[in-house]
């Protein structure tokens, strides 16, 4: 197993290098100018000076090389220096990846925004899973019952109605009409007292519910299908014939086997949490990683887009590996040695 993991990690290195180059090339070739959003009153000479000050005067391969050094050497060194309070080499003059829009290190922006994204999107993912699994089990076990019918109907609504619709409906009902929850997410709120905790919960309820509903709709369908596949298999009949209680048959034999594909799906979905829920973040002004990415794209802030998309690529590669390893642990038939 360890050998397998090491082999996979090593093979990920060239893959990621190629991905980083492809992203860089696409962004470089795509039209888009960091000075494009400036007002028409800014003359062309000034625009040219701004482009030069952003380092756009150099050819593409040099800029790519600089980005590689900054991402793989300078930024990790900087993190080490910060976490251990030591100085390695010439820390003062080491260049970092700077966002063109904010002129601040991209990694700092990401670190600043990760908490709210994890809280809102991560929690909704967790709640989505917690809702989907029991719902899927009951739906499958009582196939075609009223519960199953209603569940299927609600799930269909859940993943066919987009979150930008449910989000706005939620705002109009709960913020405008009922005035229960704030419609604007306050990222400056620090949870340091009971009152603030209540405020934090209040401002998280709407975005988390909207997203969790969407996640649960999808996952519950997979869960239901997976249990249905297993319920008709021979080992279930054997277990029942042995005289095991129905509860044990379902919760021990069937559930464990049915979870295998679902767990893989869940693991593969985790990187998308970091991608943020772009639209939901916009609607509720959570201003997490998703909003950072979309603003960077709109403003042609290429270093930010490049770094963020590459980090997503890294996460996807890692969670693919984790899914494979989990697969082996859940299913004794699969061995990597």
């Amino acid at each position: 197993m360890v050998q397998y993991i090491i082999r996979r990690l090593l093979s990920a290195i060239p893959t990621l290098l190629i991905i980083s180059f492809v992203i860089f090339a696409i962004l470089d070739l795509a039209p888009g100018d960091p000075t494009g959003n400036l007002p028409m009153t800014v003359p062309p000479e000034v625009r040219e000076k701004i482009r030069l000050s952003l380092g756009l005067g150099e050819p593409m391969h040099i800029r790519y090389y600089k980005w590689l050094v900054q991402f793989f050497v300078n930024e990790p060194l900087n993190i080490i220096e910060h976490s251990f309070g030591i100085v390695i080499g010439d820390g003062e003059n080491r260049t970092r990846i700077l966002s063109w829009a904010t002129r601040s290190p991209v990694i700092d922006l990401i670190v600043e925004r990760t908490p709210q994204t994890l809280w809102v999107v991560g929690l909704s993912y967790l709640f989505g899973i917690l809702m989907a699994i029991p719902i899927g089990i009951i739906q499958a076990y009582r196939q075609y019952s009223l519960f199953d019918q209603i569940g299927t109907f609600v799930a269909m609504i859940g993943f066919s109605v987009p979150t930008f619709f449910t989000g706005v409906v939620a705002i109009i009902i709960f913020s405008v009409q009922l005035k229960w929850f704030p419609m604007i997410y306050d990222t400056t709120l620090e949870v340091n007292s009971w009152n603030n905790f209540v405020l934090q919960v209040k401002q998280m309820i709407m975005p988390v519910t909207v997203l969790a509903f969407y996640q649960a709709s999808q996952l519950s369908r997979f869960m239901r299908a997976s249990i249905l596949d297993n319920l008709n298999l021979d080992y279930v009949r054997t277990a029942r014939a042995k005289g095991r209680k129905e509860n044990a048959v379902l919760m021990i034999h069937v559930l464990r086997n049915s979870l295998i594909p679902v767990v893989t799906l869940i693991a593969l979905g985790i990187p998308s949490i970091f991608g943020g829920a772009i639209i939901t973040e916009q609607i509720f002004r959570v201003n997490g990683l998703g909003q950072l990415l979309i603003i960077a794209i709109q403003g042609a802030d290429i270093p930010t887009v490049q770094t963020l998309t590459f980090l997503f690529a890294v996460l996807i590669v890692i969670f693919n590996l984790i899914a494979d390893v989990l697969y082996g642990m859940l299913d004794p038939r699969i061995r990597y040695d």
Partner: protein
């Protein structure tokens, strides 16, 4: 919960009312919540050209003089506005001397001196800084500190309107002590300084989260006693314009929301009835207009397509738009009020001038355009010999009045296009509509045939404006030498390819005139000449729309400077 808080606050307020000095206490009104749906990405206006950054930084760092909502200039950090009369501007207009107010302190307690002003000039004009506002410091030889509170700016040329450096929210004063080591290439790396500039304004930055939120608190060293009324500002960003309007007008969560580009019917609905807020519109110089092509854009002409060739009576004249009667008829046929109501609402009003503001420059000579007059338009065309063909489209000598009308892709603009097409149909004019993605249309790519500069169409529509309040440079846009053409890589500002020696003569005269009344007369007559020649057909005077909650006092809007220009005076209505 909310009601309870309100109860306690009002109880507290009543008790403290008993104390006499209460009304003048700084920070008495708690936190002011501003919502800018486009969030500021930095607090350094010199490294960003965006309005959102200029607005955010304007409450922290300040210029020597500022414009109010009528476009009138007021001394801000300066004692007075220098003029020739008070000796502040030299008689030959080659230098201006500013005196800054005594005893102004930075928020860190140190004194504002002329060194800071000189430094700001050096910062922005350093070639490696990449200063986005450097055009505000054009034509300057040197900026020198005459003493600790006097600065003289020496110009390379005579400047009849010498107020651009250090005036308005584009050109505020930085603290030398803070930015000394951030000049040139280093400017990019001074993240800490760029996010937390030290200023002289009513508030100072406590926490800055780029593209998300700025937390500010009242500047305890602010020059005016008892101001600002708020103890702090929460400057929240993100989301979209419609929900920003909702947060002020419907839920009342925020005090102020900026730039509400929302469909008129949605905004009207939010603003009526028991709305929690009020809408204000500020009008600057932005005019949505139709540019009339005076040259022939026919593709068969190859290289000479839409190229001004000059010569007697313009050798490459447009087949039908060169006829005055046609241009005038096109303008008369438009019902501008419909365009305003359908597409702009609060954010627009009818305009018959390309120079609609400041108020002193606005001409009333062209008000004919305010009312649609289809009969007169038809009469003009009949008289000029444009007769309706069998399909209802007018033609003369084999030339059909068939217009290709282009603009950028934008739902409001496409709506306007559709209305105008119908209105022109009523006078026997056929119109083909075209819209081009804004990044291409305004992109200025010399290789692209679809830019607004190349103008390969008969009519094109967009908005233009100018910064500051002096129209000289703007009005120069329609002189002969500004014609966009091959030889200047279509870099000129004169899109209609309008070339009139009389107009050029007025422009030359203006560049030599300093007297304000005379300048006003010249600017008005230049505007009138363009309008009465129908080189452009103005449609809508566009403004910025904001909303503020009913309990907030002070916002008046401003298109000449920051909308937050008078934030020190904002307070809660008791």
């Amino acid at each position: 919960m909310r009601k309870q808080i309100l109860f306690w606050v009002s109880l507290f307020a009543t008790i403290s009312m008993a104390g006499s000095a209460w009304a003048a206490d700084r920070g008495r009104d708690g936190e002011l919540k501003l919502l800018y749906w486009q969030a500021p990405s930095t607090m350094m206006p010199y490294l960003s050209g965006g309005t959102k950054e200029l607005e955010a930084s304007s409450i922290v760092i300040e210029p020597l003089a500022r414009y109010d909502n009528d476009g009138k200039m007021w001394p801000w950090l300066a004692e007075e506005i220098p003029t020739v009369e008070n000796g502040g501007v030299s008689n030959d207009f080659t230098s201006i001397t500013w005196k800054i107010k005594k005893n102004i302190k930075w928020s860190d307690g140190s004194d504002l001196t002329s060194e800071d002003v000189v430094f700001t000039y050096e910062y922005c004009t350093h070639p490696d800084t990449g200063c986005t506002q450097s055009n505000y410091y054009n034509d300057i030889v040197s900026v020198e500190a005459l003493d600790s509170h006097t600065i003289r700016i020496n110009f390379t040329v005579a400047k009849p309107f010498p107020y651009s450096a250090f005036v308005g929210y584009n050109a505020p004063i930085l603290q030398k002590a803070q930015f000394e080591n951030c000049v040139g290439a280093k400017a990019q790396e001074c993240t800490e300084e760029n996010f937390h500039p030290i200023g002289t304004g009513p508030f100072k930055v406590v926490d800055f989260k780029p593209n998300d939120v700025v937390v500010l608190e009242a500047n305890s060293n602010y020059r005016e006693e008892g101001k600002p009324a708020f103890s702090g500002v929460l400057f929240k960003g993100g989301g979209d314009a419609a929900s920003a309007a909702r947060a002020v007008l419907e839920t009342g969560e925020m005090h102020y929301a900026w730039n509400l580009q929302v469909e008129p019917e949605i905004l009207n609905k939010m603003a009526e009835g028991d709305s929690k807020g009020t809408i204000i519109a500020g009008f600057g110089t932005a005019v949505e207009r139709l540019m009339v092509n005076f040259t022939n854009p026919d593709a068969a002409l190859g290289e000479d397509r839409a190229e001004y060739l000059g010569g007697n009576n313009n050798r490459n004249a447009h087949p039908f738009l060169s006829d005055y009667a046609v241009r005038r008829a096109l303008s008369l046929a438009i019902d501008r009020q419909i365009l305003v109501d359908a597409g702009y609402g609060f954010a627009g009003k009818i305009s018959c001038n390309v120079l609609p503001a400041p108020a002193i420059y606005a001409s009333t000579a062209n008000d004919e355009c305010k009312t649609q007059n289809v009969d007169e338009a038809n009469r003009l065309l009949d008289e000029a010999g444009w007769a309706r063909g069998s399909d209802g489209v007018r033609e003369k000598d084999g030339v059909r009045i068939s217009i290709l009308y282009q603009t950028s892709t934008n739902s409001v603009r496409q709506g306007t296009q559709a209305f105008i097409k119908e209105m022109w149909k009523a006078i026997g004019v056929e119109t083909e509509l075209r819209n081009i993605d804004a990044s291409v249309f305004f992109g200025g790519d010399i290789g692209s045939p679809d830019t607004y500069q190349k103008f390969y169409a008969d009519i094109e529509m967009y908005t233009n404006t100018f910064s500051g309040t002096d129209p000289e440079a703007y009005m120069n846009s329609w002189t002969c030498k500004e014609v966009a053409r091959r030889s200047n890589n279509w870099g000129g500002n004169n899109m209609p390819r309008y070339c009139n020696p009389d107009y050029d003569a007025l422009a030359t005269q203006m560049s030599k005139t300093a007297n304000l009344d005379e300048r006003i007369r010249l600017a008005k007559s230049m505007n009138d000449m363009l309008m009465q020649d129908y080189a452009m057909i103005p449609l809508i005077h566009r403004g910025g729309v904001s909303a503020y909650s009913n309990d907030l006092m002070g916002p008046v809007g401003n298109e000449w400077d920051s909308e937050l220009w008078n934030i020190a005076d904002w307070h809660i209505h008791k």
